[in-house]
Chain length 305, copies 4
């Protein structure tokens, strides 16, 4: 297995040259385009890893399933479903996703920015600072890593330059979907995206989703099994932006990517996978990361379909 990982990394490494670093915030453009790391935890609690698996990077959109999880844990499925829909939007991740006449909650998916911004409002906490602290706590718990913290530079960079997210949030405010101060909500969202993690953290979080809410080793239940199925189902239809259909056909497991270069893949009942490779394709997905998952899925028959 370790041999297989090395072989896959070698085969995928050239693909890093085909992508580009995210450049919409200056901090992300400082990454090393050639990095490629992978980390796997299987259900029998074995660990396999290779390449730059120890590098830190910001979680970006991979925080969306965690935001959704916390919103589910705080409110239950029914309340969350009143605020967001679960259909694929057929649009890019930061799509404006409104028709001119009306913005309906059913049109907002928690895996696109608008929906994730809404999730921030659903998390419990007296202040948005407190909401964020609770999100960070959950992330640390799921990743079994208390050292996870905010990347201040990325956070400040996001906060300074996030015009499109501001536009999306003011749109939500316009349609009465945000009651609180828009800048407060956005501050929480920008912090959430700037949480700094490694491949190992993503693998551990993915493992718990794969094992329907239970921690590795201890088997401790962190959240109900039905929340895992809920999140995995949405990841499967919408987790890889508007490349989700292609990913389902070629890899066939629930997964979420972020523009920081991370991918968290969930192989139900079998494994959690964390990948890092910051060179992105036009849809915002890690080029070499997707290729590595394709090969891994082929070799290990991971597709759930």
């Amino acid at each position: 297995m370790d041999e297989l990982l090395e072989q896959i990394l070698a085969e995928c490494h050239p693909y890093t040259a085909q992508g580009n670093l995210a450049n919409y915030i200056p901090e992300l453009a400082k990454a090393n385009k050639n990095d490629l790391g992978i980390y796997i935890i299987s259900s029998d609690d074995r660990i396999h890893r290779a390449g730059d698996y120890g590098k830190k990077f910001t979680i970006q959109s991979i925080v969306k399933p965690i935001l959704l999880l916390l919103a589910l844990m705080d409110n239950g499925i029914d309340v969350v479903r009143e605020h967001v829909g679960v259909e694929a939007t057929g649009k890019p991740f930061d799509a404006i996703n409104v028709n001119e006449q009306a913005l309906l909650s059913d049109h907002i998916n928690p895996m696109v920015n608008m929906g994730a911004i809404l999730m921030c409002t659903l998390i419990k906490g007296d202040t948005y600072q407190e909401k964020f602290e609770r999100l960070l706590d959950l992330t640390r718990k799921l990743a079994d890593n208390n050292e996870i913290c905010l990347n201040e530079d990325v956070y400040l960079s996001e906060k300074r330059t996030g015009s499109k997210n501001r536009a999306l949030a003011y749109m939500l405010k316009t349609y009465g979907m945000i009651q609180d101060d828009v800048e407060d909500v956005l501050d929480c969202y920008f912090r959430a995206c700037s949480i700094q993690i490694t491949c190992g953290d993503l693998a551990r979080i993915g493992y718990i989703l794969a094992n329907h809410g239970r921690m590795p080793y201890t088997g401790e239940r962190v959240f109900p099994a039905e929340y895992a199925s809920f999140v995995n189902a949405i990841l499967s239809t919408c987790g890889m932006y508007d490349g989700s259909g292609e990913f389902a056909v070629k890899v066939g497991v629930p997964a979420k990517s972020g523009v920081g270069g991370g991918i968290m893949a969930v192989v139900p009942t079998r494994m959690g996978i964390g990948i890092f490779s910051p060179a992105l394709d036009a849809k915002g997905n890690s080029v070499a990361g997707i290729k590595a998952l394709e090969l891994l899925s082929e070799k290990l028959f991971l597709s759930i379909f």
Copy 2:
């Protein structure tokens, strides 16, 4: 298990009152709104069935995965992918699905009408009559039922009244995606939608998709395993029209519905399910059929997520 089915049917029967018969072609409006039948074949080749499982109805959109399968068998994945995309469109099944400027193959999904019409052109055959015959042969083979045939009344009704499909097909012609005579292509498509089947037929076809291309009992391989994964992945993201996300969350298996009231569900490696209940919700999915699959999924832990 038989008891479970009876219990589920009893619980779901009241839901038939909540839906409406498809009325866009007069023939479909002649169905009995109260019908509800279910038929399951499991991987150990056991059969379970209940209710109106013997009733005949037209396959309608459930022919789409069969059209896709035949196009794959005739051309391979790469050629098919040159003609259609695999992303969810975020639109209803008969959506016009073009932006004003350009219609690109990547925007056309084989599970919506435009894509299914295109699949007709990819099937091998000297004439569209021959293409249709080959489709009918494959359907009979997959369903292990040589008596499957066309419902002439529905076919003629579709052919007479199919303005929207004509509009969609001429749009494809406009953008050079159809080379042949539009009426010939549509005739094949209208026939395809009018194939008459039962729950048992759907269960057997679903079984083969669940078992990655092998027939029940004999284990004979009808198509390569990778075509099954390809079709199941698309069903999972787009099979239930713009209710696919909701279905993934609540049921969690690849499935395809048709406005004739049928649903074919594919439980990978475990079972094929055929359902018939012609009262539809606003998205064109069988109301009681979806409810029955929800209960079945919950009781038997069918969700793949």
Copy 3:
């Protein structure tokens, strides 16, 4: 004045090289790209003309205001307004112009194809052949030219290749806006677009719109003044496709262009202008023709704004 026209033609002639012949039907691509002609009839019944004003070409979209006029003459403003709106669509001339949910008459403008196709259904006549004969009669009357007739080659070419218009017409049928046989309606529309005229014909028709319904020389009233204002107002906001705003700013008179290379301009109370130059810009308007109207408007202070 004749000197001015010659000077304008000389200045505009180089612009013919910047455009392209319409190529969506083969017949139109046979025109001479360098042609440029202009014909003016002023309200004091003087005639000025220069260049290729005697060349024949097909009327194409310039038939739209005549179709609208005949629909108004046959039904009155109120009935016509029940079938079409008068707002600019912000879309190209052959835009699909439907949102997914519903196609409302208010969204259909008689200066885009869908609306013009609808006008064919409003014209009186027992058959679509008779409707077309009445349209041809009106065109001859307005142009004071009984020799105007159909260009059979263009008509047959349109009929053979008009996939997009077929798509648009079947869309209208889908939404119940066309009751009659779609091919019959389209046949009338294709014939209408294939009427063969010259710059002089367009100038005479434009003159009558400029003089609120009265013929040159005789002053005979052909239609009520309010129909002229109605048509001129729509020409002003929508006559030059999605270049209508630019044209209003630069030329400032109601006008209609066609992909055959013609432009009919209406200078209210002052003149009718016919222009022919078949090299088109990306929006389907004659490049040199628009330039000539810009210069003419500047020199003669034609803008109504």
Copy 4:
């Protein structure tokens, strides 16, 4: 003529009951729904007025042509055209008006909010406070009324509640069309919309546009004639929101309405008209105001078409 105005007001007054006060900002909802006033200055410098012509109200969208004028005076037509287009958008006034992929300057019209916000950035001035002062000065000059000033309550209300305008401005920022601080730009725009005027002010401003840049009485030129034609042309195609086509057909003169209940109409070479009646139709236009202009146009043959 005064008799005619009284008669028209009497006929139109009942229409005030059909509309509703703008309620998107609380201050506007405080107006008197029954108010109806009209003020006309003709080119021979006569004044006619009737009804509530002395009431003060906020200019709202009628500031858009003044913003455009000042941007033209400060930069010339070419520079302004680099930043905005002139085509009708086919959308409501506050439409998001972007497609998902790209926001192009050609898609932004200065008569919709996005374009007007952009005009604020084009006005000369070291600060946005100074830009606004220059706009206020021009408004006073055009209206020949030095007492025109800001309605502080409306301004603060707009500033506090303007989520949709914030969304639009951040969208412009996202696409690099705004360089400056978004809140600074919006502050200028909110102030601009909150300028308080009367029917007489609107009539005088309209008069200057009708007389191609010259003041009444003195004949002093305030801006070049071509800027008047430019503004009048855009008003004609886009001045009455997505009711511009209907207005062109029924009234037939360039005009601009605001949700404060004002309408400024420009009858080229003949008159400037100011109307006030705060009960609005669904498109944001004054119901009784439009009716009054219809009658006036019919009686005085005002249509330019």
